[in-house]
Amino acid sequence: MVSLLLILIMSLFFSGIIIRTKSIMSGRKGPGIFQPMLDIFRLWKKGSVVSTTTSFIFQIAPTAYFASVIMAVLMIPHGSNPGFISFEGDFIMFAYILAFGKFLMIISALDTGSSFEGMGASREALFSMLVEPAFFILLGSFALFTGQNSFHDIFSSLHYGSQISYLLGGLASFVLVLIAMIENSRMPLDDPKTHLELTMIHEVMILDNSGFDLGVILYTTNLKFAMYGALISNFFIGMLPFEISIPMFFSIQIVFAVAVGIIESFMARFRMGHNPQFVFILTSVSLLIFFGVLLVLGKFV
């Protein structure tokens, strides 16, 4: 339950930090870190416009997307403190639950019959498919490393005595940061601030959502960021007590958010056709981690 609370708190100002970092980097003062959340609150109070082409799918998809991320958040532990849901193989369910939300968002984009949203849906489907292997191999390596098969067991039995496990944690954070960027359609792949629909992925999928639903979708994006941040922090928290682990959690999240802001300030968006190659890098880094683990365990022949 601790992690759920922490992630919910973090999600309130995560994207605020990103925006603030980007403002400072470009020499502006920028809005307060709670501004994005205030914008979302404003959206929650508004009415909405619904396309005449849409069906019930369009109505339920944002809610189901939100529910899927909440369900995934419930599985994430906080150091020695297991998540609300914890069982053997929970990370498999984690990935598939997130996929469920994505499935509904993709078909809800197709539901509007808009050519732009179809384009976004097509890209989202492809990139999220390409990301999955990296996540599974990453978790597979840690399952092999620790001999455990659930988030909580893996994280609580990572011993940070040897330097090699820090190295693995560092590589894993690299992979997870990029997974988070891709899952949330951020900079190297997609530019949320672009004004050309043809170059957008996630933003263009939700062109027709408005009012409450749009607010839910935007909030879910923040939540997803905080969720991946929590996963990353778990690689370093280990068995530490709360007095240390909670400040550590927040500092890792803030470093993560600032890193995202810096990446977005100094990197250009890739050409759409080059994105798959970039995503493949993730899988190869995860494979590297896997073979690293095999070396450490002495199973490499």
């Binding site: 396309s51 799918i57 189901a64 899927s68 369900m71 069982f87 469920f100 499935f103 489907a125």
Partner: protein, 677 residues
């Protein structure tokens, strides 16, 4: 009791076949339905009693040709009997409504009904009989009756062509099986399946592996393992919807049954076999789904997905076999258990998808995804059921596909912790394969569902209403309910699965069974969490409803980025949806493009068309056929249409047949004589 039930089961079928010629069309339909239902009731009773009271075993004396005919109904048979029966139950009820559209073809329908009963009876008999000759005969009946069912619309040349392709490939399958069984008979002198065990324990290892390869090739053709899958994507779209559903749901599973049965009796180097099956299965799964995405015919897409799912089942079987080889009982349970559960799950959601596709076909008279759209508002039942099927086939919780994939994943991740380097690498690439299969399936079914059922209609199609009547929809809802129930209560088949799988182990270790029980216990948790997930969605939806109830909601046309004159033609199509995927996969697949671009001052009609070809089909079937045809074409002068010439050929043949043995004898004598010199 078992013997009586099996005999009664077959007698009912024979009696019904006798009765069909004497009935009117409507009566025939009802008779078929009644007979199938009664047969299902009988045989399911037997299957459940097998699970409750243990195996049923008896034998007929047989004739000089067959030898003793043992009939054994063990847990594996019973499991498959139940899977087949459920699919046939829904298939028969749905099929009766589906075939009403063809009421103007009474003779064709009569043949169809007879073949349907024959098919069901032969499928069940394959599961029970354990004499190779009898099994081959029944297998042949199955092949022929399914051929008749597939070519129902035989007046369409594409259907007939697909049917003949199916017939030929079925017989290649029978050829492989015949060779394998003959080899066993020659070496051991028995037609009993137990002869295979004797064979493998008495012959050298390499011979056993070769024998397994023959069996595997034969059954792989039926199951649709790559590269033997080429008949599947042709036959499925050609057949009526309920037959496609049954074919994909259970007929191809007979191949899986065969492989499982052989693995039960064969005693040889399980490690090699396990790696082999694992490799073939991963390739099958990936290749199937990669091709499925680029299909534009809805039924063909589903057919390629059957290939993918056979791959997933195969991964389970491979894992279990490796478990047998490495004496890791937990792996055996997870692998075979996952495979068996996926056999059931796939038969459920695939038949549901095919039945929905059948409704779409009869509604719009086309299976081309590109010309459909917006059907969910015209046929909501089929739409939402197709959605359930799609979510389930992608392996997403809270549906049943997730349960069996979770089972297999669990085995794979547990397998990681044990074993040597090669084994870990194999597991790693299997996980990689399974994940990519899942991701690609997601692309495929967002495409299929999104384009066919959502958006606005893409072309003007003649629409047939009155498709979704109650009688047609309730079997589909039955399947849908079952899909959700397995997703939420995965343990309802727990005891049955443990019983089936424990037959693979010579000595079942009670500790492992306990441990496996724990693993299954975790599955219960997964089910509860799935239920929790549904509840969570409902709660949030209710909250949303409460909050937005009083808000203003206005209806507008879809936002076209300020362009006001949008038409349905501007929607994303299936080909554009998968364009970026196609670009990625192009080196592996062979996709032909036809394009006419806009040029000049006054551009005319522009168009683009893509055709996906199956590379394996081209290299394995089309090119060799072309070569054979070339060679045979040089003998075409023999076929001159002259009846006298044909009679001459007959005489020449008969003469040669009679003369050849004495001639050879004489030659042998001469050679002997020469040798003595």
């Amino acid at each position: 009791m078992g013997k009586n039930l099996v005999e009664l089961f077959n007698l009912i079928a024979i009696a019904a076949l006798m009765g069909i010629p004497f009935m009117k069309t409507k009566g025939r339909g009802i008779l078929t339905l009644a007979v199938i239902t009664v047969q299902i009731a009988i045989i399911s009773t037997l299957a459940f009693s097998v699970f409750a009271n243990g195996l049923v075993e008896y034998s007929y004396t047989g004739s000089w040709a067959t030898g003793e005919i043992p009939v054994r109904i063990d847990y594996l048979s019973a499991w498959f009997i139940l899977v087949i029966s459920f699919t046939f139950l829904t298939g028969a009820w749905y099929g009766l409504q589906y075939m009403k559209k063809y009421a103007d073809q009474p003779d064709n329908l009569a043949l169809h009904a007879a073949a349907f009963i024959l098919l069901y009876t032969s499928l069940i008999d394959i599961c029970v009989v354990q004499n190779s000759i009898v099994m081959l005969v029944v297998w042949e009946i199955m092949a022929l009756s399914s051929f008749v069912l597939v070519i129902f619309e035989h007046y369409k040349s594409a259907t007939l062509k697909a049917g003949i392709n199916f017939l030929i490939q079925s017989h290649v399958c029978i050829l492989f099986l015949t060779i394998a069984f003959m080899w066993v008979k020659v070496k051991t002198g028995t037609f009993d399946f137990n002869g295979i065990t004797t064979f493998t324990s008495s012959q050298p290892k390499i011979a056993s592996l070769a024998l397994f390869l023959f069996f595997f090739s034969g059954f792989a053709i039926k199951a649709g393992f790559v590269p033997f899958h080429t008949w599947l994507p042709l036959a499925h779209p050609a057949a009526p919807a309920h037959i496609s559903g049954i074919m994909s749901g259970v007929i191809i599973k007979m191949g899986i049954y065969g492989i499982l049965r052989i693995l039960m009796v064969i005693k040889t180097d399980m490690v090699t076999i396990g790696y082999f099956i694992l490799l073939v299965s991963v390739i099958t799964g990936l290749y199937g789904v990669m091709l499925a995405i680029v299909q534009h015919n809805l039924k063909k897409l589903l057919a390629y997905h059957s290939i993918e799912n056979i791959g997933i089942i195969g991964i389970g079987i491979g894992l279990g076999t490796l478990g047998l080889g490495y004496h890791n009982q937990l792996l055996v349970f997870a692998g075979f258990g996952g495979a068996l559960l996926h056999v059931l799950n796939h038969s459920l959601f695939k038949s549901l998808l095919f039945f929905s596709a059948g409704n779409v076909y009869q509604f719009g008279h086309t299976m081309n995804i590109e010309s459909l759209g917006g059907l969910i508002r015209k046929m909501p039942h089929s739409g939402y059921l197709f959605l359930i099927g799609s979510l389930a086939i992608c392996g997403l919780p809270p549906f049943n596909g997730f349960i069996s994939e979770f089972f297999i994943y669990n085995g794979l991740f547990r397998g990681l912790a044990t074993g040597n380097f090669v084994f870990i690498l194999a597991i790693l690439f299997t996980i990689l394969g399974l994940v990519i299969i899942g991701g690609l399936a997601l692309i495929c079914f967002t495409k299929a569902f999104g384009i066919v059922f959502l958006g606005a209609p893409r072309t003007e199609i003649p629409e047939d209403h009155d498709i979704e009547n109650k009688l047609r929809v309730w079997p589909m809802y039955g399947i849908g309910l079952f899909i959700v129930v397995i997703g939420i209560f995965p343990l309802i088949f727990n005891t049955l699965l443990i019983k089936v799988v424990s037959r693979y182990l010579p000595v079942s270790d009670p500790r492992v069974q306990l441990q496996f029980g724990e693993t299954l216990g975790k599955l219960t948790i997964v089910g509860w969490y799935s239920l929790g997930f549904i509840t969570l969605i409902l709660i949030f939806y209710f909250l949303r409803h409460l909050i937005t109830r009083k808000r203003m909601v206005s209806q507008e046309a879809t936002w076209g980025c300020a362009y006001p004159c949008t038409t349905p033609k501007m929607q994303y199509t299936a080909s554009s949806f998968i364009r970026s995927y196609r670009k990625l996969a192009e080196p592996i697949l062979s996709i032909k493009k036809e394009k006419r671009e806009a040029n000049g001052l006054y551009p005319q009609h522009i168009m683009q068309r893509t055709h996906a070809h199956d590379k394996i089909e081209i290299w394995l079937i089309d090119k060799p056929l072309l070569m054979i045809r070339k060679v045979l074409n040089s003998f075409v002068f023999l076929q001159n249409g002259n009846i006298q010439a044909y009679i001459l050929y007959g005489f020449v043949f008969v003469g040669l047949a009679i003369l050849l043995p004495p001639l050879v004898e004489k030659i042998v004598v001469i050679i002997k004589f020469l040798n003595q010199l």
